[in-house]
């Protein structure tokens, strides 16, 4: 699979570090499963770190938004951290940046959950 994930925790926030490509296929499903799994285990604060995401397409954007909606519908929050240029550009074209809370600094992102 072209996407790797590593999950860690800081101050009650589950941080999922994503590395590789989020495109049509297995990668998107893997994010969906991981977020659902974390939310199912009671995690209501999830931060997706996209610093090493080299490629994303519209299916990948759909996966991010579906994950956001899934967590939100359970009363939780999902935020994005460290958008690469490609992700940022696609977010701007589609205006999805208006949906997500996006951060460039992990410490500040974690603090944003508390507020």
């Amino acid at each position: 699979m072209s996407l790797k994930m590593r999950t860690r925790e800081a101050n009650g926030v589950v941080i999922i570090d994503l590395s590789g490509q989020i495109t049509l296929g297995e990668a998107g499903a893997a994010i969906r499963d991981e977020v659902r799994d974390q939310a199912g285990h009671g995690s209501s604060k999830i931060l997706l770190n996209l610093a090493d995401v080299t490629y994303i397409d519209s299916a990948g954007l759909g996966e991010l938004t579906a994950a956001f909606m899934s967590v939100k519908n359970r009363g939780g929050e999902l935020k994005l951290l460290n958008l690469t240029k490609r992700v940022r550009d696609l977010m701007q074209i589609t205006k999805l940046y208006t949906v997500f809370d996006v951060h460039d600094d992990e410490r500040k992102a974690i603090a944003a959950f508390a507020s």
Binding site: Y55, D57, S58, G62, K85, L90, I93
Partner: protein
């Protein structure tokens, strides 16, 4: 990139030879070498020191994929492809070359090579394509050139995502050979709409055919895509995002058992200047106007190409 001093043919892991990749040229040892990326993808490979050695090995062994020497020209490689096909008609060939003209790239497409890439090469991406070539279904012919010159290319293709990936890779390379190249993001719009044609128009059925054309005029760059589906009304698809509501369709897709998505048309229409569907909706034109400023500079940088994340391989 370092070259081995003794270019002895070497075999990687034990695997049936039919699953192997034959790499022509010297073995590379750097971390970003093709060999390293193939190994990480668990693809086994063997080296041939040149064309003659490659043909000799192919006579003895049914390799599935051949990757040509990045130091030989497309012209030389295509002559070799003809020889290779005499020995092993079904082998998939990835052509690597130090450079290429639009006509050479078209010739490679006509000759149905699996992929043609010119320097600077992205070894990670080439390894990914080689892995795809190993797994590719050979029952469909893939991509057929109906008519092509540098201003008008017409293609017929079996409708699957690998062909879409290969055709997009071709147009990305072709674009780079043009003096007044369309912006890179046009390729993103093309790929998104092509994926829609495959998924929704052809129902992911690789036996169904799509027709694609790319036309370059003095003032615009145009893609045309036709699928065999029943069509749709672009203003009445509840499973796609609209500028007014970016998330409502996610619930609709979820309830209908569709995968998350629905941003393809929104994304494409945000990139091109005109996105025009036919009355039925199974044909679409993507038009990007090419004024002088757009010809000089794309909105986005070349880093948009997924293959650009690595150090280029200088040939």
């Amino acid at each position: 990139m370092e070259l081995s001093e003794k270019p002895e043919p070497r075999q990687s892991q034990d695997r049936p030879s039919a699953c192997r990749v034959l790499i022509i040229g010297y073995e590379r040892h750097s971390e970003d070498s093709l060999e390293q990326h193939l190994t990480s993808l668990q693809c086994s490979f063997t080296h041939a020191v040149g064309s003659a050695d490659a043909l000799r090995q192919l006579r003895d062994t049914p390799f599935a994929v051949v990757i040509t020497d990045p130091e030989t020209s497309i012209h030389e490689d295509l002559a070799l492809v003809t020889e290779i096909r005499r020995v092993r008609p079904g082998v998939r060939v990835i052509v690597l070359a130090p450079g290429g003209t639009p006509e050479e790239l078209i010739a490679a497409l006509r000759q149905r090579v699996f992929l043609c890439q010119v320097a600077p090469l992205n070894t990670r991406e080439i390894a990914r394509y080689a892995a795809s070539a190993l797994e590719a279904n050979t029952s469909h012919s893939g991509i057929e050139v109906l008519s092509a010159d540098r201003d008008w290319i017409s293609i017929r293709m079996n409708s699957d995502l690998l062909n879409a990936d290969r055709l997009t890779a071709f147009f990305k390379q072709f674009r780079l050979t043009l003096p007044d190249r369309p912006p890179e993001e046009m390729m993103i719009a093309f790929e998104e709409i092509l994926h829609n044609a495959i998924e929704h128009g052809a129902q992911n059925d690789p036996s169904k055919l799509l027709e694609v054309a790319a036309v370059r005029t003095k003032r615009a760059f145009v893609f045309y895509i036709s699928d065999p589906g029943k069509g749709f009304r672009p203003d009445a698809i509840p499973h796609a995002a609209t500028p007014d509501d970016l998330t409502r369709h996610i619930e609709i897709r979820n309830k209908s058992g569709m995968r998350p998505g629905g941003y393809g048309i929104l994304l494409a229409s945000g990139i091109v200047d005109e996105l025009i569907y036919s009355e039925i909706g199974n044909e679409v034109l993507l038009i990007k106007h090419m004024d002088d400023s757009e010809r000089r500079q794309s909105t986005f940088e070349e880093t948009w190409i997924p293959s650009s994340g690595n150090e280029p391989l200088k040939c």
